[in-house]
């Protein structure tokens, strides 16, 4: 039986800025997915995972969304090699609840090689954005750990893609924003770690130099990330807290992460995250470490890797207009100056954000042609949607990023203008040749096909 098609206005990305109408179908088998494609009736098609992308790379206005949550089965796990085979709608949370933590032959336990800041992303979504984690310096991005995957193209073919079979489609699909077809299933190599508890150290730094010094000194740590007070200016510009962590050889099992609790069931009429509360929040965060400016703890992995997962739909706290995230990466050469300029521009705008995350990225290359990471530093910030004022600030930030030779992260983006995308991803014309002709997204129509930015089209 073919899953039926429904009309939905409820499919939104994590930032909740864009409201589009879609037709939606939820296939429950590869066969079913192929039939769903045949029923597209001329509309463009796009996979939709758990909607944890912030902007419009997972949206396809007036088109068909193939929801992948009916394709979320784990198919096999090899405890010797650590290779897990699963359908592409399975989430990292599914892997964490099942195969992660099983014993590896070297005496360690199997663990996810790469994790974004939430465990509620699908394998397909992790491939399509070639996600990175707090261990980019030591592990690189998600695509490095793919043994192979099966890709359904709109002509009905199902292609195995691996470094030695359809290698170009393999590279195009990793970081390929869902535009090369529907990934049906994948095989992923887990890594062996000593245990599931992390030794975690938080260190205060007084300015941006402090950050880069700590990053340099932390080569022995698997995970690093910093929270920056983006309202601080002048001498305190770039002050924050540096977190670093590594797996302990500790055989104790970790307590299961609490399911998302504190649900935010509705949109508050205005955003409670105003400037005053942000200042207070950042100041409290900064003081938390006390006089010594340092704290050492041993915590289960999920407290560091997925700090926000226990809160549920926290994205609704930004109010009905939603929010943007701005995430860029700048090359190592000149990173200090570019990050300083970005932070200064943000502080000057007074549009400061709830989360300002700064981390360094390492040299390990990704197979993906449109992969976001590059050796350097990446800065990510949330901004409540204030319409044109917010978009104008982003335009100023774009210029700093492009000057530095950097690029923006499509997974977090809902507004990047075409020239910014094309400058950041010079391999995009080659990618466009392998893109599936039927698959498309609001993001792609904007950056590659010259459609008006949806946010601005609405404002106009």
């Amino acid at each position: 039986m073919v899953s039926a098609v429904a009309y939905s206005t409820g499919h939104r990305a994590w930032g909740r800025v864009h409201r589009f109408a879609h037709r939606v179908v939820r296939p429950t088998s590869p066969h079913d997915a192929r039939r769903a494609l045949a029923a597209r009736e001329g509309a463009p098609v796009l996979a939709f995972g758990l909607g944890r992308s912030y902007g419009d790379c997972c949206l396809n206005p007036e088109g068909l969304l193939l929801e992948t949550r009916g394709l979320d089965r784990l198919l096999a796990f090899d405890g010797e090699s650590g290779v897990v085979h699963c359908e592409a709608g399975a989430s990292l949370a599914d892997l964490l609840a099942t195969v992660v933590g099983r014993p590896a032959p070297d005496g360690g336990v199997w663990f996810l090689p790469v994790s974004p800041g939430t465990r509620f992303v699908t394998i397909g979504g992790a491939i399509a954005n070639d996600v990175h984690g707090k261990n980019h310096e030591t592990a690189g991005s998600f695509g490095r750990y793919l043994v192979d995957f099966r890709l359904l193209r709109s002509d009905g073919r199902i292609l195995r893609c691996a470094p030695d079979e359809n290698p170009e489609l393999f590279c195009a699909t990793i970081g390929g924003l869902g535009l090369t077809g529907l990934v049906l299933e994948a095989r992923l190599r887990l890594v062996s770690v000593p245990g599931l508890w992390l030794e975690l150290e938080e260190v205060r730094f007084e300015d941006l130099e402090g950050f880069f010094r700590l990053a340099e000194e932390s080569k022995e740590w698997t995970y690093t990330v910093a929270w920056v007070d983006c309202l601080a200016r002048g001498r305190a510009l770039g002050r924050g807290i540096f977190g670093r962590a590594r797996h302990l050889r500790d055989p104790r099992p970790v307590p299961a992460p609490a399911p998302p609790r504190l649900r935010v069931p509705f949109d508050p009429p205005f955003s409670p995250l105003n400037r005053f509360s942000l200042q207070l929040f950042n100041a409290l965060l900064f003081r938390r470490l006390g006089r010594g400016g340092r704290r050492h703890r041993v915590r289960p992995y999920h407290e560091l890797l997925y700090p926000l997962d226990s809160i549920g739909a926290w994205n609704r706290l930004y109010g009905a207009r939603g929010f943007y995230q701005y995430q860029c990466v700048v090359p190592r050469e000149g990173a200090f100056r570019a990050i300083a300029r970005l932070l200064d521009a943000i502080a000057a705008s007074g549009q400061g954000s709830f989360l300002a995350v700064l981390k360094t990225m390492g040299d390990l290359p990704s197979p993906g042609w449109l992969s976001f990471p590059m050796p350097g530093a990446t800065l990510a910030l949330d901004f409540p949607n204030r319409g044109e004022a917010t978009l104008a600030l982003f335009d100023r930030l774009d210029r700093i990023v492009l000057d530095a030779g950097g690029r923006l992260y499509p997974a977090k983006d809902g507004r990047m203008p075409a020239p910014v995308f094309r400058a950041g991803y010079p391999r995009w014309p080659r990618f466009a040749e392998l893109k599936d002709p039927v698959f498309s997204s609001a993001f792609w129509r904007r950056v590659a096909e010259g459609a008006t930015e949806p946010a601005r089209a609405r404002a106009a």
């Binding site: 939820r26 784990l74 198919l75």
Partner: protein, 252 residues
Amino acid sequence: MTNEREGLRVAVFGATSAIAQAALRLWAARGAELFLVARDRERLDRIAADLALRGARRVEAFVADLDDSSVLGRVLEAMDAALGVPDVALVAFGTLGDQTRAARDPEAARRTLTTNFVSPAVLLTALAARFEKAGAGCLAAITSVAGDRGRASNYVYGAAKGGLQTFLEGLRHRFAGTGVRVLDIRPGPVDTPMTAHMPKSGLPWASAERVAADILRAVERGRSVLYTPWFWRWIMLVLRHLPQPLFHRLRL
């Protein structure tokens, strides 16, 4: 009821149903032994593999169209071989059908009535014989709130589900005073492939996971009739007692 050494033994008929799959995952995580029946081999095999990885101690799968009474004997033999008499049997399969068609096309009406009443009732009859001998266990079937009162929008399906409710009530009467429990599961609207074509606004839609968690709890507690989510018990109570003139003015 759990056999400590072996784990709970559960047989599910219509194992590819979204609600059944969610319940199976919960049972698997507790180390249950599972016997699955469904008619789509591709999905059944994938589901079986998934449940094994999610912690099931053992998974056996059997492909059969449960409307085909000629295969019933073989299905149950396979169950006997896999689990013996299970601790829980869950009859989950069903089809919503197209009411506008079923209301006018006798053949469509027959199909809806068969899959949602005749086939489950025949299967339950065969299962009941085994449970009777064992003197213990839980016989559960998914009916629907739609079986509580006939409504213009889905009375053919509703009648089949209502018939099944009565059938379960009778079984419960028959087994009263024995160790056999009979559970009638009545979900409100659930977001599953069966309802994929319906717009998800207006009604309070439940997730298959939520309904599954309620089912496991009701099985554990030996409940008779489960409304899930719980508020449907009260909504249906009101709807059942609404005087006909008033009822007829509602578009339901």
